[in-house]
């Protein structure tokens, strides 16, 4: 029987971790250390470029999940911040000769600034409308990149020099770049972890769970929403800018709506509102793409199937399920 008395039934929540107990914090610390150790040994078994790709997308998904999982806001246009930052960093490095760290900072700033403008518009509506607005604004950014003179149109910006970090360390060596990307990745992940467990993060969760009540408690909900939107867009920008150096490339693919869909998929597969879910989701999705790249449109079809299966049967994602099983937030 289909119960459509949805007005009275409480809608299912996005699964989310509660406040981390001391117990859970110890577990999380162990996972962080394990992750760092894994990143040290992984290049001996896997291609560094593949690992860097995974890290860039994992960071992108972590940024997206900060907004969805903890802010309760489903952005369907996160490619805009990722892609625009990628263009900005690539252009700054190639044309202006910026060093990598400055170019990446610029990209992060561009992502955040765009997030400030788009976010301020999008939070004027809620729920489904919010998603449609973010998608439409991102499409505007896509057309801008398609037409703007400095993005290289269909070709994108190619041959981005990796340059020397702080003018000293040559990143054209994959191993050096790998270390740099790994540090950026772990640093950003730790930052997000701090944010989630800060008073700001607690307020966000309160707003996500019951916005009217949070407002009546004195929280300025829209300011919190905008702040987390800008944070998320900045981190997406950081991911996009870093990616431009890994592949020495910024293209329209990075700003396309399908990229926005991919980051949603990564987060959904890994587990919305979990700390480590987006990492797992990114690993699964990037691996899947690598193996399926030769089959053309099958990638899209399989991504679609994964979406459908996740929504119907598997809403907690991989890490969400594990967290439920061990009864600790992850």
């Amino acid at each position: 029987m289909v119960d459509i008395a949805s007005g009275s039934a409480a809608p299912a929540r996005i699964p989310a971790t509660g406040g981390a107990s001391r117990d859970a914090a110890a577990l999380h610390r162990a996972i962080f250390i394990g992750l760092a150790a894994l990143l040290v040994v992984a290049p001996f078994a896997l291609y560094p470029v593949f690992l860097m790709k995974v890290m860039c997308f994992a960071l992108f998904a972590v940024a997206f999940n900060l907004l969805l999982g903890y802010g309760g806001l489903l952005s369907f246009g996160h490619a805009a911040y990722f892609g625009m930052a990628s263009y900005a960093a690539a252009y700054a490095a190639k044309v202006w000769g910026f060093t990598p760290e400055l170019a990446i900072l610029l990209g992060t700033f561009v992502g955040g600034l765009l997030g400030l403008v788009f976010g301020a518009l999008a939070i004027r509506r809620q729920g489904i409308y919010f998603s449609m607005i973010t998608l439409a604004l991102a499409q505007m950014a896509f057309f801008f990149c398609l037409q703007a003179p400095f993005t290289g149109g269909e070709d994108g910006i190619q041959g981005v020099p990796r340059g020397k970090l702080f003018g000293l360390i040559d990143l054209s060596d994959d191993r050096a770049l790998y270390v740099f990307v790994a540090i950026v990745f772990l640093g950003a992940l730790a930052l997000v972890y701090r944010i989630i467990h800060s008073p700001f993060g607690q307020a966000l969760k309160a707003i996500r769970d019951n916005e009217p009540r949070a407002i009546s408690l004195g929280y300025r909900a829209s300011q919190y929403k905008l702040a987390v939107f800008v944070l998320s867009a900045s981190l997406a920008g950081l991911a996009g800018a870093t990616k431009a150096f890994v592949f020495q490339l910024a293209t329209l693919t990075d700003v396309h709506w399908s990229m926005s869909g991919e980051v949603v998929l990564m987060t959904l597969v890994g587990g919305m509102g979990t700390i480590f879910g987006p990492l797992v989701g990114a690993l699964v999705t990037v691996t899947m793409q690598n193996y399926l790249a030769q089959f053309g449109a099958w990638v899209t079809i399989i991504q679609g199937v994964v979406f459908v299966v996740c929504v119907l049967l598997f809403r907690q994602g991989v890490v969400g399920l594990i967290a439920k099983f061990i009864r600790k937030p992850l």
Binding site: M1, D3, A5, S8, A9, A10
Partner: protein, 247 residues
């Protein structure tokens, strides 16, 4: 009060119940609201559910018609077990429902509101008869449903289920927030419906009004039936009832 005499026309005690509620439990989301409600309503009877705010009267009605998220126990209509049925099939057993807040649709005209509920049994009132009963509705037939006054909206909410042929009516606080003269008119309508053979289960806060229409009063507290008072004994039990209701 001559109408009160009319309302006390006895119902044969032997008749099989039209509505039988037994050990009914119900939930709003996580919170358990009904804890084994049980009572019967016989054909032609008018029964009120009395109780304080939040006692579970409205929830009982919602559980009977099947729009409560989760319920358990037994609800039979004319001997048919309805606990597992979706509400549309319960309605088709011949049950008409007037919700709290009346449920008039803003995007429908008065006439559309009136003809919205489909016929569930033969023998409902015709549109003409309803307009005779509530002449205001005919005058305002083309207006937006929610543009009516509160009293007119209540007449519309009652009128539209009289068309369906339902003989068991569930009315949730039909007098709430209405002027005394309108309450009078609704009282007359309910007594008329009783003489026409309708069976009515009524949720009321106002036991003075309930006294003018009902055969029996079922008192609910904290999701359970705690007492049943025949209307004839109401005055004798006034003290007890006032304690129940906290008035």
């Amino acid at each position: 009060m001559p109408e009160a005499l009319l309302a006390e026309r006895p119902v044969p005690a032997s008749a099989a119940p039209l509505l039988s509620v037994d050990d009914l439990e119900g939930w709003y989301g996580e919170s358990h609201v009904l804890h084994g409600v049980g009572f019967d309503v016989k054909p032609g009877e008018v029964v009120t559910l009395l109780g304080r705010n939040g006692a579970g009267k409205t929830t009982t009605l919602r559980a009977i018609i099947g729009i409560l998220g989760r319920r358990r126990g037994s609800v039979t209509v004319k001997g048919v077990e309805a606990i597992a049925m979706p509400s549309r099939l319960i309605a088709r057993l011949g049950v008409g429902y007037v919700p709290e807040e009346r449920g008039i649709f803003a995007s429908l005209t008065v006439a559309e509101n009136l003809t919205l509920p489909p016929q569930v049994k033969p023998g409902g009132l015709t549109l003409k008869q309803i307009y005779e009963l509530f002449p205001n509705l005919e005058e305002r037939a083309g207006s937006q449903g929610t543009k009516l006054s509160g009293g007119e909206q209540q007449m519309l909410a009652i009128g539209r289920i009289l068309r369906t042929g339902a003989k068991l009516l569930l009315l949730d606080e039909p007098t709430e927030g209405l002027a005394p003269v309108i309450v009078e008119q609704i009282g007359r309508t309910l007594r008329m419906l009783k003489t026409e053979g309708f069976t009515i289960l009524l949720v009321e806060q106002n036991f003075r009004f309930a006294q003018t229409v009902a055969d029996r009063h079922v008192v609910i507290e904290q999701g359970r039936v705690i007492d049943t008072i025949p209307n004839a004994d109401l005055d004798a039990n006034l003290g007890k009832l006032k304690t129940y209701l906290g008035v």
